[in-house]
Amino acid sequence: MNKLFILIIIVALGSMLYPLVSSFDGNSELSSLAQFYAQPDNISKVNSPNLVTAIVVTYRGLDTMGEVTILFLTAAIIAFFLKKGGTTRTLRLNSEIFKTSAKLLVPIIVMLGVYIFINGHLSPGGGFQGGAVIASAVILMLLASPNTKLKHNFFEALESTSGLVFVGLAALGALLGLGYLDNAILPLGEFGKLFSAGAIPVIYSFVGLKVGAELSNILNKFQSVQSDK
Protein backbone atom coordinates (compact mmCIF):
# COMPACT_ATOMS: atom_id res chain seq x y z
CA MET A 1 0.00 0.00 0.00
CA ASN A 2 2.75 2.34 1.00
CA LYS A 3 4.74 1.48 -2.11
CA LEU A 4 1.71 2.09 -4.29
CA PHE A 5 1.39 5.57 -2.84
CA ILE A 6 5.06 6.31 -3.57
CA LEU A 7 4.61 4.95 -7.09
CA ILE A 8 1.72 7.33 -7.65
CA ILE A 9 3.89 10.23 -6.46
CA ILE A 10 6.74 9.24 -8.80
CA VAL A 11 4.40 8.88 -11.78
CA ALA A 12 2.84 12.26 -11.03
CA LEU A 13 6.29 13.83 -10.89
CA GLY A 14 7.21 12.15 -14.18
CA SER A 15 4.10 13.50 -15.86
CA MET A 16 5.00 16.93 -14.51
CA LEU A 17 8.44 16.58 -16.11
CA TYR A 18 6.97 15.51 -19.47
CA PRO A 19 6.17 19.05 -20.74
CA LEU A 20 9.83 19.93 -20.24
CA VAL A 21 10.81 17.15 -22.64
CA SER A 22 8.10 17.85 -25.20
CA SER A 23 8.73 21.61 -25.31
CA PHE A 24 12.49 21.16 -25.72
CA ASP A 25 13.41 21.25 -29.38
CA GLY A 26 17.19 21.42 -29.31
CA ASN A 27 19.44 24.43 -29.66
CA SER A 28 20.60 25.40 -33.11
CA GLU A 29 22.57 28.40 -31.87
CA LEU A 30 24.07 29.71 -28.66
CA SER A 31 22.06 31.58 -26.08
CA SER A 32 22.58 35.34 -25.90
CA LEU A 33 24.76 35.19 -22.77
CA ALA A 34 27.08 32.60 -24.29
CA GLN A 35 27.12 34.61 -27.53
CA PHE A 36 28.44 37.53 -25.50
CA TYR A 37 31.18 35.39 -23.98
CA ALA A 38 32.16 33.95 -27.36
CA GLN A 39 32.61 37.23 -29.21
CA PRO A 40 36.19 37.61 -30.51
CA ASP A 41 36.92 40.85 -28.67
CA ASN A 42 35.58 39.45 -25.40
CA ILE A 43 37.71 36.34 -25.82
CA SER A 44 40.82 38.42 -26.43
CA LYS A 45 39.97 40.50 -23.37
CA VAL A 46 40.28 37.40 -21.15
CA ASN A 47 42.75 35.61 -23.45
CA SER A 48 41.96 32.10 -22.19
CA PRO A 49 41.38 29.37 -24.80
CA ASN A 50 39.24 27.29 -22.44
CA LEU A 51 35.98 29.22 -22.13
CA VAL A 52 34.73 27.06 -19.24
CA THR A 53 37.79 28.03 -17.21
CA ALA A 54 37.27 31.67 -18.11
CA ILE A 55 33.70 31.51 -16.81
CA VAL A 56 34.60 29.55 -13.66
CA VAL A 57 37.50 31.79 -12.65
CA THR A 58 36.66 35.30 -13.77
CA TYR A 59 33.06 35.83 -14.89
CA ARG A 60 31.61 33.67 -12.14
CA GLY A 61 34.54 33.63 -9.77
CA LEU A 62 32.37 34.32 -6.74
CA ASP A 63 30.69 30.94 -7.29
CA THR A 64 34.10 29.28 -7.08
CA MET A 65 34.86 31.14 -3.89
CA GLY A 66 31.61 29.96 -2.31
CA GLU A 67 32.30 26.41 -3.46
CA VAL A 68 35.76 26.40 -1.86
CA THR A 69 34.15 27.69 1.33
CA ILE A 70 31.63 24.84 1.29
CA LEU A 71 34.42 22.30 0.86
CA PHE A 72 36.31 23.85 3.76
CA LEU A 73 33.21 23.65 5.97
CA THR A 74 32.68 20.01 4.99
CA ALA A 75 36.26 19.14 5.88
CA ALA A 76 35.93 20.95 9.22
CA ILE A 77 32.66 19.22 10.17
CA ILE A 78 34.01 15.79 9.22
CA ALA A 79 37.18 16.39 11.23
CA PHE A 80 34.97 17.39 14.18
CA PHE A 81 32.78 14.29 13.86
CA LEU A 82 35.23 11.50 13.29
CA LYS A 83 37.51 11.03 16.26
CA LYS A 84 40.44 8.71 16.03
CA GLY A 85 39.97 5.38 17.78
CA GLY A 86 42.79 4.08 19.94
CA THR A 87 42.81 0.53 18.64
CA THR A 88 45.58 -1.69 17.39
CA ARG A 89 44.79 -3.17 14.02
CA THR A 90 46.12 -6.23 12.29
CA LEU A 91 46.55 -5.86 8.58
CA ARG A 92 47.87 -8.21 5.98
CA LEU A 93 51.30 -7.47 4.55
CA ASN A 94 51.22 -5.81 1.16
CA SER A 95 52.91 -7.64 -1.67
CA GLU A 96 56.25 -6.45 -2.96
CA ILE A 97 54.88 -5.73 -6.45
CA PHE A 98 52.20 -3.40 -5.17
CA LYS A 99 54.59 -1.52 -2.87
CA THR A 100 57.18 -0.98 -5.59
CA SER A 101 54.70 0.13 -8.20
CA ALA A 102 53.05 2.50 -5.73
CA LYS A 103 56.45 4.04 -4.98
CA LEU A 104 56.96 4.47 -8.71
CA LEU A 105 53.47 5.79 -9.44
CA VAL A 106 52.95 8.33 -6.66
CA PRO A 107 55.36 11.01 -8.00
CA ILE A 108 54.02 10.55 -11.52
CA ILE A 109 50.45 11.00 -10.32
CA VAL A 110 51.34 14.13 -8.33
CA MET A 111 53.07 15.49 -11.44
CA LEU A 112 49.98 14.70 -13.52
CA GLY A 113 47.82 16.62 -11.05
CA VAL A 114 50.14 19.62 -11.19
CA TYR A 115 50.07 19.45 -14.99
CA ILE A 116 46.28 19.36 -14.98
CA PHE A 117 45.85 22.44 -12.85
CA ILE A 118 48.63 24.50 -14.40
CA ASN A 119 47.27 23.83 -17.89
CA GLY A 120 43.71 24.60 -16.82
CA HIS A 121 43.35 27.47 -19.29
CA LEU A 122 44.64 25.49 -22.29
CA SER A 123 43.17 22.00 -21.93
CA PRO A 124 40.25 20.46 -20.04
CA GLY A 125 40.84 20.33 -16.34
CA GLY A 126 41.70 22.80 -13.69
CA GLY A 127 41.87 23.24 -9.98
CA PHE A 128 39.17 20.82 -8.90
CA GLN A 129 40.24 17.95 -11.14
CA GLY A 130 43.91 18.45 -10.32
CA GLY A 131 43.10 18.54 -6.61
CA ALA A 132 41.19 15.28 -6.90
CA VAL A 133 44.12 13.63 -8.70
CA ILE A 134 46.54 14.79 -5.98
CA ALA A 135 44.20 13.42 -3.32
CA SER A 136 44.15 10.10 -5.16
CA ALA A 137 47.97 10.03 -5.02
CA VAL A 138 47.78 10.54 -1.25
CA ILE A 139 45.28 7.71 -0.91
CA LEU A 140 47.47 5.39 -2.99
CA MET A 141 50.37 6.14 -0.64
CA LEU A 142 48.19 5.38 2.39
CA LEU A 143 47.06 2.10 0.84
CA ALA A 144 50.56 0.95 -0.01
CA SER A 145 52.05 1.65 3.41
CA PRO A 146 49.33 2.00 6.08
CA ASN A 147 51.78 2.98 8.80
CA THR A 148 52.75 6.34 7.35
CA LYS A 149 51.53 9.35 9.24
CA LEU A 150 50.42 12.32 7.21
CA LYS A 151 51.73 15.65 8.42
CA HIS A 152 48.55 17.42 9.42
CA ASN A 153 50.29 20.69 10.10
CA PHE A 154 51.73 20.79 6.62
CA PHE A 155 48.38 20.17 4.95
CA GLU A 156 46.59 22.70 7.11
CA ALA A 157 49.26 25.32 6.46
CA LEU A 158 49.10 24.61 2.73
CA GLU A 159 45.32 24.90 2.72
CA SER A 160 45.16 28.16 4.63
CA THR A 161 48.01 29.74 2.70
CA SER A 162 46.45 28.92 -0.65
CA GLY A 163 43.07 30.20 0.50
CA LEU A 164 44.66 33.45 1.63
CA VAL A 165 46.52 33.88 -1.65
CA PHE A 166 43.32 33.20 -3.59
CA VAL A 167 41.36 35.86 -1.71
CA GLY A 168 44.33 38.24 -1.84
CA LEU A 169 44.67 37.94 -5.62
CA ALA A 170 40.94 38.50 -5.96
CA ALA A 171 41.07 41.62 -3.80
CA LEU A 172 44.14 42.92 -5.62
CA GLY A 173 42.03 43.32 -8.75
CA ALA A 174 39.60 45.49 -6.82
CA LEU A 175 42.43 47.53 -5.32
CA LEU A 176 43.94 48.22 -8.73
CA GLY A 177 40.60 49.46 -9.97
CA LEU A 178 39.90 46.62 -12.41
CA GLY A 179 37.21 44.73 -10.54
CA TYR A 180 37.02 41.92 -8.02
CA LEU A 181 38.58 38.70 -9.41
CA ASP A 182 39.73 40.37 -12.63
CA ASN A 183 42.52 38.52 -14.39
CA ALA A 184 44.25 41.52 -15.98
CA ILE A 185 46.41 42.26 -12.93
CA LEU A 186 49.19 40.28 -14.62
CA PRO A 187 50.19 40.76 -18.29
CA LEU A 188 47.85 38.93 -20.62
CA GLY A 189 50.53 37.44 -22.86
CA GLU A 190 50.09 35.63 -26.15
CA PHE A 191 46.95 33.60 -26.86
CA GLY A 192 47.43 29.87 -26.36
CA LYS A 193 50.78 29.91 -24.54
CA LEU A 194 51.41 28.64 -21.02
CA PHE A 195 52.21 32.06 -19.55
CA SER A 196 49.14 33.87 -20.73
CA ALA A 197 45.62 34.72 -19.62
CA GLY A 198 46.82 36.96 -16.82
CA ALA A 199 46.07 35.72 -13.34
CA ILE A 200 43.93 32.70 -14.34
CA PRO A 201 46.67 30.01 -14.06
CA VAL A 202 47.93 31.47 -10.79
CA ILE A 203 44.48 31.58 -9.21
CA TYR A 204 43.57 28.12 -10.49
CA SER A 205 46.84 26.65 -9.19
CA PHE A 206 46.12 27.90 -5.70
CA VAL A 207 42.54 26.61 -5.92
CA GLY A 208 43.99 23.25 -6.95
CA LEU A 209 46.40 23.14 -4.00
CA LYS A 210 43.60 24.07 -1.60
CA VAL A 211 41.16 21.50 -2.96
CA GLY A 212 43.86 18.82 -2.95
CA ALA A 213 44.75 19.50 0.67
CA GLU A 214 41.09 19.50 1.72
CA LEU A 215 40.21 16.27 -0.05
CA SER A 216 43.35 14.60 1.34
CA ASN A 217 42.29 15.69 4.82
CA ILE A 218 38.78 14.26 4.39
CA LEU A 219 40.07 10.93 3.03
CA ASN A 220 42.71 10.70 5.75
CA LYS A 221 40.03 11.25 8.40
CA PHE A 222 37.94 8.46 6.91
CA GLN A 223 41.00 6.23 6.86
CA SER A 224 42.08 6.91 10.43
CA VAL A 225 38.79 5.92 12.08
CA GLN A 226 38.87 2.36 10.72
CA SER A 227 38.86 -0.30 13.39
CA ASP A 228 39.06 -4.03 13.64
CA LYS A 229 36.18 -6.25 14.46
Binding site: R89, T90, L93, P146
Partner: protein, 114 residues
Protein backbone atom coordinates in the same frame (compact mmCIF):
# COMPACT_ATOMS: atom_id res chain seq x y z
CA UNK B 1 50.31 4.68 -43.42
CA UNK B 2 46.83 5.65 -42.31
CA UNK B 3 45.39 2.36 -43.48
CA UNK B 4 47.97 0.45 -41.42
CA UNK B 5 46.98 2.39 -38.31
CA UNK B 6 43.28 1.79 -38.87
CA UNK B 7 43.85 -1.95 -39.31
CA UNK B 8 45.94 -2.14 -36.12
CA UNK B 9 43.14 -0.36 -34.25
CA UNK B 10 40.61 -2.82 -35.66
CA UNK B 11 42.77 -5.75 -34.53
CA UNK B 12 42.97 -4.25 -31.06
CA UNK B 13 39.20 -4.01 -30.84
CA UNK B 14 38.97 -7.66 -31.93
CA UNK B 15 41.28 -8.60 -29.07
CA UNK B 16 38.98 -6.72 -26.69
CA UNK B 17 36.02 -8.67 -28.06
CA UNK B 18 37.85 -11.97 -27.52
CA UNK B 19 38.64 -10.87 -23.97
CA UNK B 20 35.02 -10.20 -23.16
CA UNK B 21 33.90 -13.54 -24.63
CA UNK B 22 36.55 -15.27 -22.56
CA UNK B 23 35.35 -13.42 -19.49
CA UNK B 24 31.95 -15.02 -19.91
CA UNK B 25 33.15 -18.53 -20.75
CA UNK B 26 36.07 -19.18 -18.38
CA UNK B 27 35.41 -21.59 -15.50
CA UNK B 28 36.71 -19.89 -12.34
CA UNK B 29 37.75 -16.54 -10.93
CA UNK B 30 41.48 -16.87 -11.54
CA UNK B 31 41.11 -17.74 -15.21
CA UNK B 32 38.73 -14.86 -15.70
CA UNK B 33 41.22 -12.57 -14.00
CA UNK B 34 43.95 -13.63 -16.39
CA UNK B 35 41.75 -13.06 -19.44
CA UNK B 36 40.55 -9.75 -18.08
CA UNK B 37 44.08 -8.46 -17.65
CA UNK B 38 46.29 -9.81 -20.40
CA UNK B 39 43.89 -9.62 -23.30
CA UNK B 40 42.40 -6.24 -22.44
CA UNK B 41 45.81 -4.68 -21.88
CA UNK B 42 46.98 -5.98 -25.27
CA UNK B 43 43.81 -4.82 -27.00
CA UNK B 44 43.91 -1.31 -25.56
CA UNK B 45 47.62 -0.88 -26.30
CA UNK B 46 47.12 -2.07 -29.89
CA UNK B 47 44.27 0.37 -30.39
CA UNK B 48 46.35 3.26 -29.06
CA UNK B 49 49.38 2.30 -31.19
CA UNK B 50 47.11 2.33 -34.22
CA UNK B 51 46.09 5.85 -33.25
CA UNK B 52 49.79 6.81 -33.11
CA UNK B 53 50.08 5.73 -36.76
CA UNK B 54 46.93 7.63 -37.67
CA UNK B 55 47.84 10.88 -35.91
CA UNK B 56 51.64 11.15 -35.57
CA UNK B 57 51.47 14.63 -34.00
CA UNK B 58 49.61 13.26 -30.94
CA UNK B 59 52.35 10.83 -29.99
CA UNK B 60 53.26 12.44 -26.65
CA UNK B 61 49.92 12.02 -24.95
CA UNK B 62 49.31 8.62 -26.52
CA UNK B 63 52.66 7.28 -25.27
CA UNK B 64 51.85 8.61 -21.80
CA UNK B 65 48.47 6.86 -21.95
CA UNK B 66 50.06 3.58 -23.05
CA UNK B 67 52.56 3.88 -20.19
CA UNK B 68 49.73 4.40 -17.71
CA UNK B 69 47.77 1.40 -18.95
CA UNK B 70 50.87 -0.80 -18.86
CA UNK B 71 51.72 0.34 -15.33
CA UNK B 72 48.30 0.17 -13.71
CA UNK B 73 46.37 -2.72 -15.23
CA UNK B 74 48.67 -5.63 -14.20
CA UNK B 75 49.15 -4.23 -10.71
CA UNK B 76 45.43 -3.99 -10.03
CA UNK B 77 44.92 -7.53 -11.32
CA UNK B 78 47.72 -8.78 -9.07
CA UNK B 79 46.24 -7.17 -5.97
CA UNK B 80 42.81 -8.55 -6.86
CA UNK B 81 44.17 -12.08 -7.38
CA UNK B 82 45.97 -11.99 -4.04
CA UNK B 83 42.82 -10.82 -2.28
CA UNK B 84 40.70 -13.52 -3.85
CA UNK B 85 43.27 -16.16 -2.86
CA UNK B 86 43.21 -15.02 0.75
CA UNK B 87 39.43 -15.03 1.06
CA UNK B 88 39.55 -18.65 -0.21
CA UNK B 89 37.60 -18.53 -3.42
CA UNK B 90 37.66 -22.12 -4.71
CA UNK B 91 39.73 -23.19 -7.70
CA UNK B 92 38.30 -24.84 -10.76
CA UNK B 93 38.38 -28.64 -10.65
CA UNK B 94 41.09 -28.76 -13.30
CA UNK B 95 43.63 -26.67 -11.39
CA UNK B 96 46.57 -28.80 -10.28
CA UNK B 97 49.39 -26.50 -9.07
CA UNK B 98 49.06 -24.14 -6.12
CA UNK B 99 52.37 -22.40 -5.56
CA UNK B 100 51.07 -19.88 -3.03
CA UNK B 101 50.41 -22.76 -0.62
CA UNK B 102 54.12 -23.50 -0.41
CA UNK B 103 55.14 -20.11 0.82
CA UNK B 104 51.96 -19.23 2.70
CA UNK B 105 54.03 -19.38 5.87
CA UNK B 106 56.09 -16.49 4.59
CA UNK B 107 53.03 -14.21 4.51
CA UNK B 108 53.41 -12.48 7.81
CA UNK B 109 50.77 -10.24 9.28
CA UNK B 110 51.54 -6.59 9.70
CA UNK B 111 50.70 -4.96 13.00
CA UNK B 112 49.72 -1.37 13.05
CA UNK B 113 49.84 0.69 16.23
CA UNK B 114 47.70 3.75 16.53
Amino acid sequence: MELIGAIITLLGSFVLLVASIGLVRMPDVYNRLQVGTKATTLGTIMSLIGLVFLMPQWWGKLILLIFFVMMTSPVSAHVLARASYFIKIPFSSRTVVDKMKVNAKAMKIEHEKK
